[in-house]
Amino acid sequence: MADPAYDEGMAVRRAVLGDAHVDRAIANTTELTAPFQDLITRYAWGAVWGRDGLDRRTRSCVTLAVLAALRCDEELAMHVRAALRNGLTADEIGEVLLHTAIYAGVPAANSALAIAQRVLAEGER
């Protein structure tokens, strides 16, 4: 059955997170998590990330800053990888996280930079 809202969200999700990540998430979906998987595909990736009016690089920047500020460590690691896919350089990711120190406090930026350092090192291997 055609489901354009889901398909559009999934296309953005795959473009930003990569097929390997999304295929893994789909493979790990259970009865418990299926409604959530459906929600993030339609809402997060379709209704918000898929919008015009703000380029994806900038969406990545503000997302990294918010996740660092809120100490969402696992999501931050995922979005460091996403930011690279959206065209940010490692230096730009570092700048965003340094910037966050001023508004969300030094500990938040310190944790975020440690996570970014680990993720970026994985990419170099």
Binding site: G53, C61, V66, T100
Partner: protein, 129 residues
């Protein structure tokens, strides 16, 4: 002082994002809290003044962090104006704050949008004059 090149740049960054005639926070704080005044000036100069990320993107990141954390509405108001002065469009401000709903929840984004509505209305009036 040990603040290095950063503190001197604080005023230059402030002028790019503040409305005409605004008093920098470090001047307002100097009598009561000189340490905090210095931290604010240093933060603005040493971090916002760095190359490597344009001021528009920095301002959009700032308003999203302030929106996500909540409780910083006066600063959010100032920095939304700053984002516009740094070259962000009203649409980009609204889109960036919409993005906050995903990560900090819808209520924080709604509260931020109320602040944005005020700032954007004042911005429109300024444009019309």
């Amino acid at each position: 002082m040990s603040a290095g090149s950063g503190a001197g740049r604080g005023i230059a960054v402030f002028r790019r994002i503040a409305p005409d005639g605004a008093v920098p926070p470090w001047e307002a704080l100097a009598d009561l809290a000189p340490g905090l005044a210095e931290a604010a000036e240093h933060g603005l100069g040493a971090v916002l003044g760095r190359p490597g990320l344009d001021l528009r993107t920095r301002q959009l990141a700032t308003i999203c962090v302030l929106a996500a954390l909540g409780g910083a509405e006066p600063q959010l108001e100032f920095h939304i104006g700053g984002a516009l002065r740094a070259g962000a469009t009203p649409r980009e401000v609204v889109e960036a704050l919409t993005q906050v709903s995903l990560y900090a929840g819808v209520p924080r984004a709604i509260n931020a949008m109320a602040v944005a509505r005020r700032v954007l209305a004042a911005h429109d009036e300024e444009e019309e004059r």
